[in-house]
């Protein structure tokens, strides 16, 4: 019986339907070559697991646990444990000086000015109606499967408008941004490319981390309450991301 590698591995992984599984079990009893292949695949599975069991059973570094427990201990409504190490007010000011790029998003092509540390601030940009980004901001929920454009979270700003944090892979770069909805459409208030994030001073950006904390810190400083949950997001989308007026 000739068994493909994929079928053999599916057998070892317990992914074959019962009928084929049984057929293969019988074939293995009669075919030494097949049995050897199965044994090798099973051994590789075992060894892979064993190699990483070490990590699974290590004590978790305090700095990771602290992210989750520090806020609890302080009994604050929004935990400080996950705030970035600077205050939000600082973050807003720092963002403007440290390389957050304000650019115009024309259709699917991102136009930015790439500069080093101490980048100049440019005017906020409008998202072109009909562009992929506009569509994603208007229609895509944060819970949607990851695509080229990803919605990170949505929230009500202190001004009462709806804002969203998005991440987009454009031209082999990841750009994260904050966009808010006004009467005319979507306006991008801040954007940062991952590569630019690397230029920031070391104490601001953890080595190996790519998520621009600046964008998240800005979002957090603008946020009224918590980020929207799935229901609230769906509801906001249904209302075109325009807050319902108080008088109906």
């Amino acid at each position: 019986m000739i068994v493909s590698d994929q079928d053999l591995m599916a057998y070892v992984d317990g992914e074959l339907d019962p009928v084929r599984h049984e057929a293969l079990s019988l074939a293995i009893e009669r075919d030494a070559g097949l049995a050897a292949r199965v044994a090798a695949a099973q051994e590789l599975r075992r060894n892979l697991r064993a190699a990483f069991d070490v990590t699974l059973h290590e004590p978790v570094p305090d700095k990771l646990t602290a992210l989750l427990t520090a806020g609890r201990d302080k009994k604050t409504k929004r935990p400080d444990s996950w705030r970035f190490t600077r205050s939000s007010a600082w973050a807003s000011a720092f963002a403007l000086a440290a390389g957050v790029v304000f650019g115009a998003w024309l259709g699917p092509v991102l136009m930015t000015h790439r500069t080093g540390p101490g980048a100049t601030q440019m005017a906020p940009g409008r998202v072109a109606t009909g562009s992929d980004l506009y569509r994603a901001l208007s229609e895509q929920l944060a819970s949607a499967p990851a695509k080229a454009i990803r919605m990170e979270l949505s929230f009500r700003s202190k001004e009462g408008t709806y804002c969203r944090v998005f991440a987009s892979t454009v031209q082999a770069d990841t750009v994260t941004g904050l966009a808010c909805r006004d009467a005319e459409g979507w306006r991008v208030d801040a954007m940062q490319s991952v590569a630019q994030g690397a230029n920031q001073s070391a104490d601001y950006r953890q080595a190996g981390s790519s998520m621009p904390s600046v964008i998240m810190a800005l979002a957090e400083s603008r946020m009224e309450g918590d980020a929207l949950d799935a229901d609230a997001e769906a509801s906001a989308r249904a209302n075109g991301w325009i807050p319902a007026s108080n008088t109906h």
Binding site: N47, L48, R49, F52, T55, L64, L67, S143, S209, M211
Partner: protein, 174 residues
């Protein structure tokens, strides 16, 4: 709202070891792995309202780790095209804990696989997701999961048969 937050953080603490294991399989380097988990936990905390209590938190958070890793990989590729490839040699890690020689060869072999093969092997063989779950998580067809798994495992087999020291038997050194 406070109660939901506590339920989230309590469960998330229990999930941390799995996140670390998955990140370690992806990055090979222990320090990078923990940085990746840190970014993922920060994101998860901000987005915690999107998680439905009672549903699979581990899967939800592993997805966040995965997205952070994808972002990070793109960033590194872009950096390496701008800078001298000084970081290349660091892939084969001998920092941190030194497991027995046999086990090290598996981790090193895994680190040499293409990203997409390493990723699916980490999800299915190490984290224990089913083919269907992995396909949904990665947003690819199940057939692609199976073919990447097969290619990756054959490549591992070959690397371990070829170059590595003796296949690991747990524990015993010569």
């Amino acid at each position: 709202m406070n109660h939901v937050y506590e339920e989230f953080t309590e469960q998330a603490v229990l999930v941390l070891p799995r996140l670390r294991r998955y990140a370690r399989a992806l990055t090979h380097n222990a320090a990078d792995a923990d940085d990746l988990v840190q970014v993922a936990v920060e994101r998860a905390l901000v987005r915690r309202n999107q998680w439905q209590p009672g549903t699979n938190l581990a899967g939800w958070m592993i997805t966040i780790v995965r997205n952070a890793w994808i972002d990070e990989s793109r960033f590194r590729k872009r950096q390496s095209s701008l800078m001298l490839p000084a970081e290349e040699g660091e892939q084969v890690g001998d920092r941190g804990m030194e497991p027995e020689v046999g086990l090290l060869s598996i981790q090193a072999a895994l680190s040499r696989l293409p990203d997409e093969q390493r990723d699916v092997i980490a999800l299915v063989l190490i984290e224990g997701f089913s083919y269907r779950e992995a396909a949904d998580l990665m947003n690819i067809p199940m057939g692609t999961v199976m073919s990447r798994l097969a290619r990756g495992r054959l490549a591992l087999q070959e690397m371990l048969d070829d170059g590595g020291p003796e296949e690991s038997r747990t524990g015993d050194s010569a």
